[in-house]
Amino acid sequence: MRATRMGFIAACLMALAAAWLFFAPFIVGYQPRGAHWVTATRNDLAVGGALAVTAVIGLTTAAMLTVRELHYHARTHGDHFADQGSGGF
């Protein structure tokens, strides 16, 4: 299914964007080295970390449930669904 595949790709990119946000204060340089974390850094670390974890958990759950569903269909309806490969995505 094309729409669900698009959802998977978008969620992957979201996890990458969140990871970028997590490291941005140190890469861009608005967090001075050796100093206490500034407000922007604390915000980016918290939001970036939370979003990255959420996206990874959501993606993993969705992928695991998809695989489980394909297995179930393959067992109940023969090899037809298994032959379709990524039919569930």
């Binding site: 698009m6 959802g7 978008a10 407000t39 922007a40 915000n43 939001v47 979003l51 996206a55 959501g58």
Partner: protein, 135 residues
Amino acid sequence: MSRFFAGILTGIAGLMGGGWLIAAPFAPGFQRSNTAWIDATKVDMFTGAGIMALGLLTLVGFAAGLVATLRAEGALAQRQRGHAEPEEPPEETRASVELQSLVARLALALEDHERQQDGDARTAGQPSAQARRAG
């Protein structure tokens, strides 16, 4: 089906997180108003907008998958298409129609055959097939 809900929740989290990132430079106050955007503000604004867009795509993608699955399972009504061509009957229906017509033709042929036999028997003075069956 719960895989769709996992994706939808991820999309909602992305939308909310992205929205917060766009508002964050002004809410905690590390970006002063009426001054040029500092680096942290630029990063938050652009990353937030990107994450919001990706969250929306995730949400739409998984929601569309959920709707399609519900339609396929019959929980939602099929989408009506205007002036659609009538669908061909499925293979099973076509086969049963062919079988019915074959049986009807066989029955007709059998009836003709019996009638013919009755006519032959009457001319030869023997009991008809129907009379034999009744006796």
